[in-house]
Structures are given as structure tokens and as C-alpha cells.
Symmetry: C2
């Protein structure tokens, strides 16, 4: 099972599929923020490349339009991103946490949640 690496724009396409479910290229394109929206064909190229990477697949066809669906889960993709990042931190989560704290994105609630989750999950 090959772990695909997705580019930023590819991830945004996937995000659209994960959030809105199977969609046509047009629907995906319209999901993207208006500000600096990508051309229809740009989105299409990305979808086709994602299909080549087996990250999406054709689900069905409506009229002459293909409807695509995600072939990998959001969790798997996110997991891959985290693992990659962790690599730059020498595999240790602590320094990563420090940065989360510095950037003010981590709340005490988050930490409490994490603690509970960790306690529950196995040891």
C-alpha cells in the first residue's frame, strides 16, 4: 500500500470531496474560495492527477460529467502530513507541541481532551 504525497492544492481538492462527498469537477471548483479561484481546467487537471495517484476515483457519470469521490480518507491523508512533519522534529512530538503553544493554537481544553484520549487509547 503506497502512501501518496499530496500537494497543497491537491489537498484542497480532497478537502472538497471529504466535506461535500462525491462531486463533479464543477462542484469542486465552486467549493473553492472565490478569492483567487482556480480555473475549471486547473481543478480538472488536479482531479485527474489525483486519480492517477489513486486518491480519488470516478464514482459514476451524470450526463457527460464524471462524478468523483475520495479514494483515501481524510484521516489517512492527515496522518501522512503529521508523520512527515514529525520527521522534521526528529520524531518527537514535544517540540511540535511547543510551537503549537507559541502560536496560541493550543488551549487547555485541547490538552485535557488529548489527555483523556491518550489514557483511553491503550496505555
Amino acid at each position: 500500500m503506497k502512501q501518496v504525497r499530496l500537494s497543497p492544492l491537491e489537498l484542497r481538492i480532497m478537502e472538497a470531496l471529504w466535506t461535500h462527498g462525491a462531486s463533479s469537477v464543477r462542484e469542486i471548483q465552486e467549493t473553492l474560495p472565490e478569492k483567487g479561484r482556480h480555473a475549471y481546467t486547473t481543478v480538472q487537471t488536479m482531479v485527474t492527477r489525483l486519480e492517477g495517484k489513486a486518491a480519488v476515483r470516478k464514482a459514476k457519470k451524470i450526463g457527460n460529467a464524471h462524478i468523483y469521490e475520495a479514494a483515501i480518507s481524510r484521516g489517512v491523508a492527515q496522518r501522512r502530513l503529521v508523520d512527515d512533519l514529525l520527521g522534521f522534529f526528529g520524531g518527537r512530538a514535544a517540540p511540535l507541541m511547543s510551537h503549537l503553544i507559541e502560536s496560541g493554537q493550543l488551549t487547555l481544553d485541547d490538552i485535557e481532551e488529548a489527555r483523556k484520549a491518550l489514557k483511553k487509547s491503550g496505555k
Copy 2:
């Protein structure tokens, strides 16, 4: 102050400089793992590009060799990575934490540390 985006290999070059201090291209190259080591000129190209991005600078010259030093800190670079990743998680740290837990990289000690750090820092 422009936030530079560093590629994976560029980050490994920076890592060498952060860890070993100012170095020549040769020294940086020899720092990289033997397994699949990059050619001298490949490293040099990266260093030159990093210089163009103002991430490293020439510190001095020994013989005819330039000695380079990091011009941005490891912390700043790591922070950038974390911020980028956070973007894919909608800016929320919680899901990121979940993945850390799943991948078994987060220990209760890490969490305790984080809690203390968070309490101390500001609010």
C-alpha cells in the same frame, strides 16, 4: 519580513547548519546520511538557493571555500512548518493532537509539559 518556505532537502541542509554550526559545503555534504548521499554539487546548489532565499549567508572564507551559516533560526523554520500544517487542519490544533496520539508519539509526559508551558505563557 518575508517567511521563506523551505523544501525538504533545503531543510536537511539547514538542519546540518543548525546542528553543526557554520560549515563549508563539503562539511554539510558529509553530514548527510551516507545512504543515498547527495552529490557535492547538489548540496552546493541547495546552499546557493538557500542563500538566495536569505536562509543562509556566507560567514567567512577559508582558503577558497566559503563557510556558510544559518540566517534564520530553527525555531522560526519549524514554526513555519507547524503553521502550514495547522492550515490543513483548519487552524485547530485538536485534530492534529489526535493524530499525534494515534501515531503513538505523544506521551502523558509531553502533555503534562505542554500544560505547564501553556499555563506559564500568558493566560
